[in-house]
Symmetry: C2
Subunit: 202 residues, 2 copies
DNA sequence: AAATTTACCGAACGATGTTAGATTATCTAA
DNA sequence: TTAGATAATCTAACATCGTTCGGTAAATTT
């Protein structure tokens, strides 16, 4: 079949261009205004061409969301490999989580349901792996003489707190700046860990 | 002008019917599938008739969101008037907040940005008043020898935790049931208050 | 060079929010 | 009671959306 390797490469490049265009438009104007025709115009192709590379609009968003989880996972793993104390690791992971969402809000929005362009099927392995890393970290913090259910609860609570503060901050519903919100979050997480540690002793 | 009072009453009733139809459809099928034509069909009028009562689709959603805040506010005030101890009041308000969101998720979704049918201008007095009530309650808990900034922080943190857990639970991103999530939330809030109280002493 | 496959596009379909203009019902005034 | 005015409502249409169909032009293979 000859040297059709270039065709494949060009095809891949166009696919990347579509994803990049969609994300760029979302970052600039919000997901509600991202339209197939605008994406097509951005990459200088006609709208039907997009459908040669993606089944539909949701497939583009799904792919971006999964990439978002991969990015987030990498950021968390980078922190993980620094191998500092469990508490430090936990707090830095929370910070990395925050930084990712704040740096790419358009991705965080589609990873969770902060917009209704949110994909319906969101049971991706990338998401599962992300939570597994978080779970392991919390486990390390809580490792000594802590039974499983309470460990899982701790993950749920810290995750909820982080996500909640992020959601509100991303929507500017918080009357303080993001740096202050991030600092508050860190302190609250420290406080929660303090309580949980003291409970372990008793 | 005679007895045109009936016309006004009928007009109001139709307006209520439009709001009720929109909310009902949202509760049954989700906001993404709520359409002006479906609302019109539900109330047995043609689509343009809706525009005699609302400027556009967003105006309907805005009105429902504001009513949502009024409902929530009433629930909080009911708890407030029971005049129990500050801590009890705080926890029960959090519970009332949770119950409202869980009972009318379609309202909670548009009150915060959990869907992109979210109104752009969301600076309503009802929302401000709701937070004022919450603020006063937190203030009562933290009243003795607590300086203002930390008080406000406490509100932000508890609100974020509640909202975060709600968002995740409403989207079934939590692997536990709502009752369990609610119980976890209550415990976490108690824990946070414990830390804050102990810090006050030192 | 002919045949075949591939990439791409113009035009269109159905559904959406929304508006204009006509039609019908209702009320006021003689 | 009836003529004219006012209000309520509808039919038809527009622009835009996601998406598909069918064809054209280009690239590749034979």
């Amino acid at each position: 079949m000859g040297i059709g390797g270039r065709r494949d490469r060009e095809k891949q490049e166009l696919k990347q261009a579509i994803l990049a265009a969609a994300q760029m438009l979302a970052a600039k104007t919000g997901w509600a205004k991202v339209t197939m025709r605008k994406v097509a115009e951005q990459i200088e192709y006609s709208p039907p061409t997009i459908y040669e590379h993606f089944q539909n609009k949701e497939a583009i968003i799904t792919e971006l969301a999964r990439r978002g989880f991969r990015q987030l996972l990498m950021a968390l793993q980078t922190v993980d490999e620094l191998t500092i104390s469990p508490e430090e690791k936990f707090l830095r992971m929370s910070k990395a989580y925050w930084d990712f969402a704040w740096q790419s809000p358009e991705l965080y929005q589609i990873m969770y349901g902060l917009t209704n362009t949110h994909p319906s099927d969101n049971s991706w392995p990338e998401a599962k792996e992300t939570f597994r890393v978080l779970h392991l970290t919390v486990q390390a913090v809580m490792r000594v003489e802590y039974d499983a259910p309470e460990l899982h609860d701790a993950l749920l609570i810290t995750w909820s707190l982080t996500h909640g503060m992020l959601s509100l901050a991303l929507e500017s519903q918080l009357d303080c700046g993001p740096e202050r919100a991030a600092a508050l979050l860190q302190q609250a997480l420290r406080d929660l860990m303090t309580v949980w540690r003291s409970r372990k002793v008793s």
